[in-house]
C-alpha cells in the first residue's frame, strides 16, 4: 500500500529539523500549538552573523544608490542614458517590474483565501509583505524619474493660491492614486491578519520585544467577538482588494497604451500586464520563500506541498502569459503598420534580438520545467526556474518600454539608448531596499501566520477510503 502522504521525488528532511519530513503534510503534523509557536519565534529571537552580514551588504548598496540619486537630482536627468526619443528607460522598466512583483501577494492571500485553498496558509504573510515592500520600492520610481522631483507634490490636489487642480485625465495621476490605494490596502491587510500573531509574540517574549508587540497587538485577547469581527473584516478585504490589484497594473499599462506610440497603443496591454505581473510575482514569491526557508530555518512550515502547489500556479500563469503575448503579437505582426514592422524586425533580427530571445527563452522554458513535479518540489531546481522567469519578465518590460521608443513615425526621430552608472546604481538600490525591508520584517514579525495554520489544522484529519488514509479537510467556515 503506497503512503498517500509522500509526494514522489521530494527530498526528505533537512539538516536542522531531522524529525520533519519534507513531504509530510503541514496541517497534519503531530505538533502542539506550543511547539508551533516556539518554532516561529525562534528566528525572531536569535539572529546569526549571516543576517547581520546580509544587512550590512544591503545597506551598503542602498547608501551607494542614494548617493547616485542625489547626484541625479543635483546634475539633472542627463546623467542617465535617456535621450530623445527614448524618454523613459530603466527607471520606468523597473517601476513596472516592481508593480508586477507586488501582485503575487494579493493573488495568494486574497484570491486563495476566498477560494478556501489551504496550502496558502503558511505563505500569506510572506506574500503580503512582498506586496507591501514591492509597492514601497515601486513608488520611489515616479519620484526618481521626475525632471523636477522637488515639485512632485504638485500632483497632489491640495489647496493652493493659484486654485490649480492636477489633471485627472493623465494616466500618471491614476498611477498615483492607484498605487497609493494598493499600498495602503495591502499594508492594512498585512497588519490586520498579523494582530493575533503579534498577541502570541507578546505573550511569549520579554523586554523591548514585549513592549513593541504589546503596542502593535492593540490589546488583542482572542475573544469570540474579536475573532468574528476580524474574520469579517478579512473577508471584506479579500473581496475588495481583488479589483484593486487588477486595476493597479492595468492603470500602469495604460501609461503606455494611451499614447499613439506604435507597439504601445494596444488594447491588450491591460490584461497582458496583469497576467505578466501574476507570473513574475508568483515566481519572485517562490524564490523568496525558498531563500527564507533556508535562511530562517522554516523547514517546519514550508514543505513540498506548498512549493508543488505554488509551482502549478506559476505554470498556469505562465501559460496564460504566453497566450496574451501571442494574441498581442499576432495582431501587431499581421497589421503590417510600417513602424510596427520596423520595431518587430529590430526585435526579431536587429539590435534587440539578443534581449528578445532571452525574454522568450527565460519565460517559456520554465513553463516546460514546471510541468515536472521533480522541479516543483526540489528547492534548488525551483529556485533556478523561477529566477529565470524573473529575468525573462524584466527583459520583457525593458523591451516594451525602451525597445518601442526607439522607433516612431518619423525616421529622423529614431534613436538608441545606453544605460549609465547612475541608472544602474539606483536600480540596484531599489532591489537592495526591498531585500533589506523584507529581511528586517521577517525577523521582527512572525513570518508564518501561525493562527491560520492552527485554524487549518482544525480542519484536517485522516480518513480511511478503502486501503488509503486520505487527508480530509472539513468545511467549518
Amino acid at each position: 500500500m503506497s503512503d498517500a502522504l509522500a509526494l514522489p521525488g521530494a527530498r526528505a528532511g533537512s539538516q536542522d529539523e531531522p524529525e520533519t519530513a519534507y513531504d509530510e503534510r503541514l496541517l497534519l503534523a503531530q505538533r502542539t500549538d506550543e511547539e508551533i509557536n516556539q518554532a516561529v519565534l525562534k528566528p525572531m529571537l536569535r539572529t546569526g552573523r549571516g543576517f547581520w552580514a546580509l544587512v550590512a551588504v544591503l545597506a551598503g548598496i542602498i547608501l551607494w544608490g542614494m548617493y547616485s540619486w542625489s547626484y541625479l537630482i543635483q546634475w539633472g536627468l542627463g546623467t542617465t542614458g535617456k535621450n530623445r526619443p527614448v524618454y523613459w528607460t530603466l527607471f520606468i522598466t523597473t517601476f513596472v517590474f516592481w508593480i508586477g512583483i507586488s501582485h503575487a501577494g494579493t493573488m495568494i492571500s486574497a484570491v486563495l483565501r476566498l477560494l478556501k485553498v489551504d496550502w496558502r496558509r503558511p505563505i500569506t504573510r510572506g506574500a503580503e509583505a512582498m506586496t507591501a515592500f514591492a509597492l514601497v520600492v515601486a513608488g520611489l520610481y515616479p519620484l526618481i524619474h521626475l525632471g523636477r522631483v522637488w515639485k512632485a507634490y504638485w500632483m497632489v490636489p491640495y489647496p493652493n493660491n493659484r486654485m490649480l487642480w492636477p489633471n485627472f485625465q493623465s494616466p500618471l495621476m491614476w498611477d498615483l492614486i492607484a498605487i497609493t490605494t494598493y499600498l495602503v490596502s495591502s499594508t492594512l491587510y498585512l497588519y490586520l491578519a498579523l494582530i493575533p500573531d503579534l498577541a502570541m509574540a507578546r505573550d511569549h517574549t520579554g523586554g523591548w520585544r514585549h513592549r513593541v508587540y504589546r503596542l502593535m497587538a492593540l490589546g488583542w485577547r482572542g475573544t469570540g467577538g474579536e475573532w468574528h469581527k476580524l474574520l469579517r473584516a478579512l473577508a471584506i478585504f479579500s473581496v475588495a482588494i481583488i479589483p484593486i490589484f487588477l486595476s493597479v497594473h492595468s492603470i500602469v499599462s495604460w501609461d503606455f497604451a494611451v499614447t499613439i506610440q506604435p507597439r504601445w497603443h494596444s488594447t491588450i496591454f491591460a490584461p497582458y500586464f496583469v497576467i505578466g505581473a501574476v507570473y513574475s510575482g508568483l515566481s519572485a514569491l517562490a524564490a523568496i520563500l525558498i531563500i527564507v526557508r533556508r535562511g530562517m530555518r522554516l523547514q517546519e512550515f514550508l514543505r513540498a506541498e506548498h512549493f508543488d502547489a505554488l509551482g502549478r500556479l506559476i505554470l498556469v500563469a505562465g501559460m496564460l502569459w504566453t497566450y496574451f503575448w501571442f494574441a498581442g503579437f499576432l495582431v501587431e505582426w499581421y497589421g503590417n503598420d510600417p513602424v510596427v514592422r520596423a520595431l518587430i524586425s529590430e526585435e526579431i533580427s536587429g539590435k534587440m534580438a539578443p534581449l528578445f530571445y532571452l525574454q522568450m527563452g527565460a519565460n517559456l522554458i520554465p513553463i516546460v520545467l514546471l510541468a515536472f513535479r521533480k522541479v516543483r518540489t526540489t528547492p534548488a531546481l525551483l529556485l533556478a526556474t523561477v529566477l529565470l522567469v524573473n529575468v525573462g519578465m524584466y527583459t520583457e518590460r525593458f523591451l516594451i518600454v525602451v525597445g518601442s521608443l526607439q522607433r516612431n513615425d518619423i525616421p529622423f526621430n529614431w534613436g538608441t539608448y545606453r544605460p549609465t552608472w547612475v541608472e544602474l546604481s539606483v536600480v540596484a538600490m531599489t532591489f537592495a531596499g526591498f531585500a533589506l525591508l523584507y529581511t528586517v520584517f521577517s525577523r521582527i514579525v512572525p513570518y508564518v501566520p501561525v493562527w491560520e495554520i492552527k485554524e487549518g489544522r482544525l480542519r484536517y484529519t485522516l480518513r480511511r477510503i478503502g486501503r488509503l488514509l486520505v487527508p480530509t479537510a472539513a468545511e467549518i467556515e
Partner: protein
C-alpha cells in the same frame, strides 16, 4: 483588584479547556445553570465559529460602515474627476474637460480606497481597539487552550467550578488581570 463587587456580589471566574467539544459542552451546562450568554467570554488562539461553541452570533455594524465609506469615496472621486476640471478650466486637446473613461477610473480607485480604509477603521472601532490596560487574560491561550471567562453571582461559583472540572478544565480560578 479581585473583581469582587460588594453590592452586586459578582465575581469573575476563568478556566482553561483543551478543545472545542469540551468547551461547547461546558458552555451548554453553564447556560443550563442560568448564566447569560453575554456574561460568558471565550478566549482562544484560533478562531472557532460561534455555532461550534453554542454561542450567539453578534450583529456587526461593520458592513454598514464599509458601505458608508465606499459611498464617501465614490462621491469624493466623482468630485475630483468631474467637478475640479470645471473649477479651473484648462482645455485638453481632443478630449472634453470631464469624460466618462478617466472619471470612471478615478471614481473606482477612490471608492476602493475608501472601502479598504473604512473596513480597517470600522473593525478597529467595532473591536474598541486599541485597548491597552488591564484585562482578564491568560498567556496559555495562544498555546492552544480555550479560556472561558465568566462574570457570575458569587453563589454560582461552586457550581461553575464543578462544571469546569467535569469537562477537564484546568487553571480554574479568578482571572489574572494582565496588562495588554
Amino acid at each position: 483588584m479581585d473583581g469582587r463587587n460588594a453590592t452586586t456580589d459578582t465575581i469573575r471566574l476563568m478556566a482553561l479547556l483543551a478543545d472545542a467539544t469540551q468547551t461547547a459542552q461546558a458552555i451548554d451546562d453553564l447556560h443550563a445553570l442560568g448564566i447569560e450568554d453575554r456574561k460568558i467570554v471565550v478566549l482562544s488562539g484560533v478562531p472557532y465559529p460561534e455555532r461550534a461553541l453554542g454561542r450567539h452570533t453578534e450583529w456587526l455594524a461593520l458592513p454598514w460602515i464599509v458601505l458608508a465609506g465606499a459611498i464617501g469615496g465614490f462621491v469624493f472621486g466623482l468630485f475630483l474627476a468631474v467637478i475640479t476640471p470645471h473649477l479651473y478650466r484648462l482645455d485638453i486637446g481632443g478630449h472634453p474637460a470631464a469624460a466618462f473613461p478617466p472619471a470612471a477610473i478615478v471614481v473606482f480607485v477612490f471608492t476602493m480606497m475608501a472601502t479598504i480604509v473604512s473596513t480597517f477603521l470600522g473593525v478597529l472601532w467595532e473591536m474598541d481597539f486599541p485597548r491597552f490596560g488591564r484585562a482578564p487574560y491568560h498567556d496559555l491561550v495562544t498555546d492552544g487552550n480555550l479560556a472561558v471567562l465568566l462574570e457570575i453571582p458569587a453563589d454560582l461559583q461552586a457550581k461553575a467550578r464543578a462544571i469546569f472540572e467535569a469537562h477537564h478544565g484546568h487553571h480554574i480560578g479568578e482571572p489574572e488581570w494582565i496588562s495588554l
